[in-house]
Symmetry: C2
Subunit: 163 residues, 2 copies
């Protein structure tokens, strides 16, 4: 069972800082088949259903060239998640783990990341497979998967640095 | 040459929305050997120098269990980057690419992601190799690499879904 907002036995919540240190702009909206957290997969699958990344203005021009890649990295905002729990009980059995040792949506900055398969581009929509989030999830970023990406810009000294 | 704030020939900047849709909390600070953008690698290397993820309160308890994994995913805030450029010229030659087809730090939400090798944990510090960012970069999130992670919580219907 996924959590709504309840704390489980042994879990620890902290007082969230009231200030924010940086602001995000939602660049689009993700359309998936899942409208309930009870149905949403725990992780995406590359043979899963086609999902849509709808890009909002003024960012549509930034799509140019994404169809060069077969895999993209997608960042999204898990807007229904608590942010204040540092020790979590994923199995709801009282055994806790630190939030940074989990890929749970419950985290200080609830950002999901996925590596997806590109299906195609249609206007302001990027079609992909491999997502694991609710319909209407806000989109934060899209970039080529690091495994496929060789920087176009000239190399820098740190590129060659080893200890 | 990395960019400071200048636009290059053919690049397109847009008017950024003045509102912010969500707020980030910096959970720590990254310590690396690089204090100039001219020296910083374009991508991290797993045989690169050891870097430190200093976790701030109240998030230190969330470290529990990260030492179970050999690879972690790290999210960080590229605080010196422009956010308004949708077409970029990485080679500074007038040929432009969409921001979403680049891993450039210049993007609407300047979040970097890296898969790093865990070296160890010392108190509130996670030691890793494989980063590519400036010293003092704000830390946003740490989680297990998806390749190593099997969700602990019970499966859900979407886990098995194919088209």
């Amino acid at each position: 069972m996924v959590r709504e907002m309840e704390l489980r036995q042994g879990e620890v919540a902290v007082d969230m800082p009231s200030a924010r240190d940086a602001g995000l702009v939602f660049i689009g909206r993700i359309r998936t088949p899942w409208t309930s957290r009870l149905e949403t997969p725990r992780q995406g699958r590359h043979d899963g259903p086609v999902c849509q990344l709808e890009i909002f203005e003024p960012w549509v021009a930034a799509i140019k060239g994404v169809d060069f890649y077969s895999n993209l990295e997608v960042l999204y905002w898990l807007h229904q998640s608590r942010r204040d729990i540092v020790l979590q009980s994923p199995k709801n059995n009282g055994n806790t783990r630190g939030t940074f040792s989990l890929r749970s949506p419950v985290r200080p900055n609830p950002i999901g990341t996925a590596i997806v398969k590109l299906v195609g581009v249609e206007g302001n929509v990027i079609l992909v497979r491999g997502l694991d989030c609710l319909d209407e999830t806000p989109l934060i970023d899209v970039k080529p998967d690091r495994c496929e990406f060789t920087p176009l810009a000239p190399p820098q000294p740190g590129d060659f640095e080893t200890e």
